[in-house]
C-alpha cells in the first residue's frame, strides 16, 4: 500500500468523483494515465492532488488524449502494474478503439466512466450514451447509483478485473452530475482495510518479467482469432460468478449488500420499470409514494451488472409482472433501446409474457422526476389492466412537441 496513509472519518461527505479518487488511492494504483473530461474531471483532479500531496506512491501520467490515456494504461498493465483511469462521453468515444485492445489483450484496467451524453449537439450532462457505446467492447461493466456505491464499485472493480479467472478490464459507471457532483454521506473503509481487501496485484505474463519474455498485442488471422475471441467471451461470461463472490465478500466486510440485479418493490409488483443509474433511486421514492397514495403495486429492476448481462437473474426477477417499461437513457439510433432488447431477449424463452414497452428518456441530462415516474407507473398499470399496450411500443418521454412514438405489432 501507499507509504503515506490518509486519516478518513467514519462518514465522509463525498461526491461520486471523490469516491472514485479515494478508491483509486486506497487501491494503490501503479499508473493512472488520464486526460480529464467533464464530468469525470474531478476523479483525476483529486487523485492528482493526492499525488502532489504525497499520498500516492504510483505514477500519474497526463497524456495528450483519451486514446493515449487508455493506451498508457494498457502498456503499463501489460508491463505488470495495476492501472486505472477515468473518462466520459467524447473522451470515451476517442478511447473506444483501445477499449477493445484492453479486453482482447486481457489486461486488467479500471475505468471510471462518468456517464454523459454524446455530441452533437454538445452536452456535458448525464445520459447513458457513453455507457451504451461500451456494450460490445468486452469489458465488465458495473453501475453505481450513488456516491457510496461509486466508492464501493470502483474499489471492487480492481478485485473483479484482476481476478485470475477474469483478467478483463472493468468499467465502474455512475451518472454524470447526478452522482458525480452530488455530495452525499459516504462510509469509506480505512486505508488498511481497503488495501487489504483489494490485495497485492498479481502479475500474469508481465512484460517486465525478464525470465519469461512475452509479446502482447499480437496478430491472429482466421486460424486463431476465433479461438481467442471465444476464450475472451468465456472469461467475460464467467465473470458474473466472480462478481457475485466479490459482492458477497464485500458484504461480509462492510454490511453493504449488492446484487447483479437490484430491485425494489418487486415482492408484490404488478408492473415494473427497468432502468440504470440514479433513476433507480428516484424510482424508489416514486414507488413508496404511489403505493401509499394510489395503492398501485409497482417495482423497479436495475441491472447493477450491465456486462456480462445477467440474463437469467433479470428474467427471474420479472416473471410475475404484467407490464414492463424498459427505460433507455440514450438515443437508440434507429431501433429500440438497449434495455428493451435485453429484457425482451431475457423473457422470450420463459413462461412470462408481459407487455414490454420502451421509453426513451432523460437525454442530455433532462430530469426524470418522481412525478414523471409516477406518470409512467400509472400508464403501465392501465396497460396491464387493459391487457394491451396503448399506442406504440417505443415512446420518447419528457420531450417537448407532439407525441413521438414508434413500432406497433398489434394485429399481427
Amino acid at each position: 500500500m501507499n507509504s503515506r496513509k490518509m486519516e478518513l472519518n467514519k462518514v465522509e461527505v463525498w461526491d461520486g468523483n471523490m469516491a472514485n479518487s479515494q478508491a483509486f488511492r486506497q487501491a494503490d494504483v501503479d499508473v493512472v494515465a488520464a486526460y480529464p473530461i467533464t464530468p469525470s474531471t474531478a476523479t483525476v483532479e483529486n487523485y492528482a492532488m493526492f499525488h502532489a500531496n504525497g499520498y500516492i506512491d504510483g505514477e500519474v501520467i497526463m497524456t495528450e488524449s483519451e486514446h493515449a490515456a487508455m493506451s498508457g494504461c494498457i502498456g503499463a498493465g501489460a508491463a505488470g502494474g495495476r492501472v486505472a483511469t477515468a473518462t466520459s462521453s467524447q473522451g470515451l468515444a476517442l478511447m473506444i478503439e483501445t477499449l477493445y485492445q484492453a479486453s482482447g489483450m486481457r489486461i486488467p484496467v479500471v475505468l471510471c466512466l462518468v456517464n454523459r451524453a454524446l455530441a452533437a449537439p454538445l452536452n456535458v450532462n448525464g445520459d447513458h450514451s457513453d455507457l451504451y457505446l461500451t456494450r460490445d467492447a468486452g469489458w465488465v461493466s458495473i453501475d453505481a447509483f450513488s456516491p457510496q456505491q461509486a466508492y464501493d464499485m470502483t474499489l471492487m472493480s480492481f478485485r473483479i478485473s484482476e481476478h485470475l479467472d477474469v483478467r478483463l478490464p472493468v468499467i465502474s459507471n455512475q451518472d454524470g452530475f447526478m452522482t458525480s457532483h452530488t455530495a452525499q454521506n459516504v462510509h469509506p473503509l480505512d486505508d488498511d482495510t481497503a488495501s487489504k481487501f483489494v490485495g497485492e496485484y498479481k502479475q500474469v505474463n508481465a512484460l517486465l518479467n525478464f525470465e519469461k519474455p512475452v509479446t502482447h498485442g499480437v496478430q491472429t488471422e482466421q486460424d486463431w482469432h476465433f479461438e481467442h475471441k471465444a476464450k475472451q467471451h468465456a472469461a467475460l461470461m464467467g465473470a458474473k460468478k466472480v462478481v457475485k463472490e466479490i459482492f458477497a465478500e464485500f458484504k461480509e466486510l462492510t454490511g453493504r449488500e449488492y446484487k447483479v440485479v437490484e430491485s425494489y418493490g418487486m415482492e408484490d409488483a404488478e408492473v415494473a420499470i427497468v432502468c440504470l443509474g440514479s433513476t433507480y433511486e428516484t424510482a424508489i421514492v416514486a414507488i413508496d409514494e404511489i403505493k401509499k397514495e394510489e395503492g398501485i403495486n409497482v417495482g423497479v429492476v436495475a441491472p447493477r451488472l450491465f456486462r456480462p448481462f445477467p440474463l437469467e437473474e433479470v428474467a427471474a426477477e420479472l416473471q410475475t409482472v404484467k407490464a414492463i417499461a424498459c427505460m433507455d437513457r440514450s438515443a437508440p439510433g434507429g431501433t429500440v433501446g438497449t434495455l428493451y432488447n435485453e429484457i425482451s431477449g431475457a423473457l422470450i424463452n420463459t413462461p412470462a409474457r408481459p407487455l414490454v414497452t420502451n421509453l426513451i428518456y432523460g437525454l442530455g441530462g433532462r430530469d426524470m422526476t418522481v412525478a414523471g415516474l409516477k406518470d409512467i407507473f400509472r400508464q403501465l398499470d392501465k396497460d396491464a389492466k387493459a391487457g394491451k399496450i396503448s399506442g406504440n411500443i417505443q415512446k420518447l418521454v419528457g420531450v417537448r412537441g407532439p407525441e413521438l412514438s414508434f413500432y406497433n405489432v398489434q394485429g399481427l
Binding site: 525478464f210 519469461k212 519474455p213 509479446t215 486463431w224 468465456a234
Partner: protein, 137 residues
C-alpha cells in the same frame, strides 16, 4: 507447449494471445548466447517463416564486402547475419526484401544487390557488375 498451437482449442490458448518468445524460463543473460543456440518457442517470430512476403531479394557478394556492418545496423528485420563483426549472409526466412541494406552498402561495386526472387544466388553472383570508374553513373 504440449501440442502445436494450430491444434489448440479456445480453452487451451494463452489468454489475450500473449506469446512467449522462449520455451521455459530464461535463466542466463541472453546477450551471451548466439540466436541459433537460444530455445525460441514455436510461437516466436524467430520460428516463423515470413520470407514469402518478398518479391525481390538481396544477394550478398562476399568478394567485395568489407564487413562495415552498415547493412546489419540498418536492416529493419534483423535479417543480416553477422558474427564477430563479420558478415555471414542474409536470413531469407525473415528478410522482406525492402532493399535498405543495398542502399546503405558503401562498396564499389555494391556487395548487396537486389535480384528477382526466382534468380538463384549462383546466377546472381555470375551477373555481378564490375567496379565503376570515376565519374561513371
Amino acid at each position: 507447449m504440449s501440442k502445436p498451437i494450430s491444434e489448440m482449442g479456445w480453452d487451451e490458448l494463452v489468454p489475450g494471445a500473449a506469446l512467449h518468445t522462449f520455451d521455459g524460463t530464461v535463466e542466463t543473460n541472453l546477450s551471451n548466447i548466439q540466436p541459433e543456440e537460444r530455445k525460441y518457442s514455436e510461437t516466436s517470430s524467430k520460428s516463423m517463416s515470413v520470407g514469402d512476403w518478398r518479391v525481390i531479394k538481396p544477394v550478398w557478394n562476399s568478394e567485395t564486402c568489407i564487413d562495415c556492418q552498415n547493412c546489419w545496423v540498418f536492416c529493419p528485420d534483423t535479417s543480416i547475419i553477422a558474427r564477430n563483426k563479420e558478415m555471414r549472409g542474409v536470413d531469407y526466412e525473415h528478410c522482406k526484401g525492402c532493399g535498405l541494406c543495398v542502399s546503405v552498402c558503401p562498396t564499389n561495386p555494391k556487395s548487396l544487390l537486389m535480384f528477382n526472387e526466382y534468380v538463384t544466388v549462383e546466377d546472381a553472383l555470375s551477373q555481378w557488375p564490375e567496379k565503376k570508374k570515376k565519374g561513371e553513373l
